[in-house]
């Protein structure tokens, strides 16, 4: 149950003419994980693609070019196209469509670049329009040179000191000047140098005649005409998109699947007359595969189970997680980390049991819990329509929100950071003036078992208890993982269990003082609660010391000198235990933040009895609540996950297994027609 799906290695052997039918049937099943044949045996060759592969890839090439040209990648289609309809669409039709699409997109491109060109020319012409000379005056002559452009300051000041005959025409342009300089050819070098040091930007006049302003108007007219034609083309392209998008996308998808099937022989060993497909199937599906292959390819193709050594199995078998439906969403967290090894325990069920609990404890608020459940439902039902990730995340958030609401309703008795009833500290003074739902006139007939802001030590004790239970399960799983693999490692896990319990007991001895903490203490330590000594005002338990020292001694017996390293790890185990205090820490910090915001805003809001102030107060309060809600949810989620990943997984998890990737496909745009 808590191990991944058990696998069998099989070989499917048959005559080569049946390869296509066999591959086809395996694809339909979605159950067979192929082990690629790499051509290890010179007698046995890697197979050739099926004959239809070339034709299909031609078709795909055309379809993909249409998809790109029409920008269909993000297109949302309304209907799924039956495969029959796709196959009836002739190559001729696809080719014609491709031609039309290409023609139209080319025309569109030509128009866009022509418009762009005109706009650029207008930019230049506007400078010459400011200078005001007719454009003919810039035409080449034998004795005259001309320079035109823009400069940050007046050019006349740079040309005059040269002491040559030159004509400067200038006009203000933007922050600087637009200008033209005419000079004799022999002086052109000196002028160019002077202009260069003045920081000018050269502009060459376009080879057109007439006045610049007139030309601009003509260009505008032409561009307007081109834009009209362009919008006509755009409409035509949009029409093509609307008309053919679903068919093209469906066909692209269908032929992508077909090409995969046609190229599957590249992963298969073949001789002149036979083929062998090597791979893994779940034990439970062996009969299904046998029946399907026999049905598709007849009795000439046989399915043989291969004998695999245990080591090979542990290393190479692909991992398919197997969990009850309710725990499935939590496989997301395992995938985020790393696929477990085939021999390892699949921790999904434990994460499923623990994550919502930790998350709920950290949030522990009826209001936020309900908001989280709504958010979870939205992620699941709305965003999760197209995305498995969102769907699973939504379900996880929903579960977390449920626990947060339950803890909020029955344990902490608060909603949106506001307690149901006034809270009193240990001296009987009301906390924050007794602000509560009751003081606002809302009466909830449930009494809090624990106050976040008063019973912090109790919350810490619960965290430590959670630490002990969680890590004990972790070490037990580590023991189970190692037992068949390495007995010495397994024994070490038991020693760690002793040390963990020792540390836990010692913490309990130090943490007594309230009903809850004494209750936990007596539950675990009642049989040895007097066996203690005092060390600088700390009560130290002999049993705890015995367990810890015994465990460490065990390391030395098992590992000799190498145990020095393990000794250091005892300290990190203590750090691990304290690390669980984040459950209390985040709960308290978030609760305190929300209560403080509520208190500050409420006391300002009702201070003057001013409607305007109240309206602003409500707005600010909603904003602040949103901050607490989003920050709290995010950090609670990450921290609950971290406690699983770091404190829990590191006790037993190796990961790095091979994902089970069976031959198969998912259709999004097309559908298999019923025959």
């Amino acid at each position: 149950m808590i191990k991944p799906e058990r696998m069998l290695r099989i070989a499917i052997v048959g005559p080569r003419r049946e390869l296509g039918a066999t591959v086809q049937s395996l694809y339909e099943l979605d159950l067979f994980h192929v082990v690629d044949y790499l051509g290890e045996d010179p007698e046995v060759k890697i197979g050739h693609p099926l004959p239809q592969a070339a034709e299909i890839s031609q078709r795909l090439l055309k379809l993909r070019s249409i998809v790109r040209a029409l920008h269909l990648e993000e297109f949302k289609t309304g209907r799924k196209v039956p495969v029959q309809e796709i196959e009836q669409t002739s190559d001729q039709a696809i080719a014609t469509l491709e031609k039309e699409v290409n023609k139209r997109t080319e025309v569109r491109q030509a128009l866009t670049s022509k418009i762009r060109e005109l706009e650029l020319q207008d930019d230049i012409l506007s400078v010459f329009a400011e200078i005001g000379l007719p454009l003919d005056s810039y035409s080449d002559s034998e004795s005259l040179s001309s320079f035109s452009g823009t400069a940050p300051s007046s050019i006349t000041d740079s040309i005059e000191p040269l002491g040559i005959r030159a004509e400067v025409v200038e006009a203000p342009h933007g922050k600087g000047y637009a200008f033209s300089v005419f000079c004799a050819k022999k002086d052109s070098e000196a002028v160019q140098q002077a202009l260069g040091s003045a920081g000018y930007q050269e502009m060459r006049p376009p080879h057109v005649s007439g006045s610049a302003a007139g030309r601009i108007a003509e260009n505008e007219k032409e561009a307007e005409k081109l834009r009209e034609t362009l919008s006509g083309e755009e409409e035509a392209i949009e029409g093509l998109r609307e008309k053919y998008a679903s068919l093209v996308l469906a066909a692209e998808e269908h032929y992508s699947i077909e090409i995969q099937k046609a190229e599957a022989p590249l992963r298969v060993a073949t001789t002149q007359n036979s083929f062998t497909i090597d791979g893994w199937v779940p034990v439970s599906s062996l009969q299904v595969i046998k029946a399907a292959v026999a049905g598709a390819a007849g009795s000439s193709v046989t399915v043989e189970t291969l004998k695999v050594s245990k080591e090979e199995m542990d290393e190479q078998a692909p991992v398919k997680l197997k969990n009850p439906r309710i725990a499935k969403p939590f496989e997301l967290f395992i995938e985020l980390m790393s696929t477990p090894l085939y021999r390892e325990v699949d921790p999904t069920l434990f994460v499923f049991a623990v994550f919502p609990l930790f998350f709920g404890l950290m949030i522990g608020d009826l209001g936020y819990g309900i908001c989280l459940m709504i958010a979870g439902l939205v992620m699941w039902k709305k965003l999760g329509k197209d995305s498995q990730g969102w769907k699973r995340l939504g379900q996880i958030v929903l579960a977390g929100g449920l626990f947060a609401s339950l803890f909020g309703l029955f344990l902490f008795c608060d909603a949106f950071g506001l307690p149901f009833h006034p809270v009193f500290d240990e001296y009987g003074t009301p906390v924050l003036g007794g602000l509560s739902w009751e003081s606002l006139g809302v009466h909830v007939p449930v009494e809090a078992q624990m106050e976040k802001l008063v019973d912090v030590k109790d919350l810490l004790a619960i965290s430590v208890l959670a630490a002990w239970i969680h890590m004990t399960v972790g070490y037990a799983l580590g023991f189970a993982n190692d037992w068949h693999h390495d007995k010495k490692h397994a024994a070490t896990k038991v020693l760690w269990l002793f040390i963990l319990f020792g540390l836990f007991v010692q913490v309990l001895f130090m943490a007594r003082g309230s009903e809850l903490r004494d209750g936990i203490f007596l539950f675990f330590c009642s049989s040895f609660n007097t066996m203690t000594f005092s060390f600088s005002s700390i009560t130290v338990s002999y049993v705890a010391i015995l367990l810890i020292v015994g465990g460490i001694a065990g390391f030395f017996i098992a590992h000799g000198r190498a145990a020095m390293m393990e000794l250091m790890e005892v300290l990190s185990l203590l750090a691990n235990i304290i690390s669980y205090c984040r459950i209390a820490a985040i709960g308290v910090a978030k609760g305190a933040m929300a209560l403080a915001f509520n208190y500050v805003v409420a006391s300002l809001m009702f201070a003057g009895g001013n409607i305007f102030l109240i309206a602003i107060g409500i707005f600010v309060l909603v904003l602040l609540q949103l901050i607490v809600f989003s920050l709290g949810s995010l950090s609670s989620g990450i921290q609950a996950l971290r406690l699983n990943y770091v404190e829990f997984f590191l006790k037993f998890y190796t990961g790095g297994g091979v994902d089970f990737e069976p031959l198969g496909y998912k259709r999004k745009y097309s559908m298999k027609s019923e025959v």
């Binding site: 967290f333 980390m337 790393s338 001296y427 030590k457 205090c581 984040r582 820490a585 996950l641 971290r642």
Partner: protein, 77 residues
Amino acid sequence: MDPGLIAIGAGLAIGLAGVGTGIAQQGAGAAAVGATAEDQKNFGKSIVFMVIPETIVIFGFVIAILLWMSMGQYSGG
């Protein structure tokens, strides 16, 4: 003992621990973002490395809470 001093001690405990966590996280965080940008699959591991230093501030929190709770014994008089 003056409860004010205890309060300062509690504040220092969590404040300095927070600074320590911040210093430790800046490196881990930058590397984690880099690794995730390179390959989405690294996200899970990145998160783990990223939040490891947070334990330091939890230590500070525990000490601060213990100090804060012990203030009661001294503030009565």
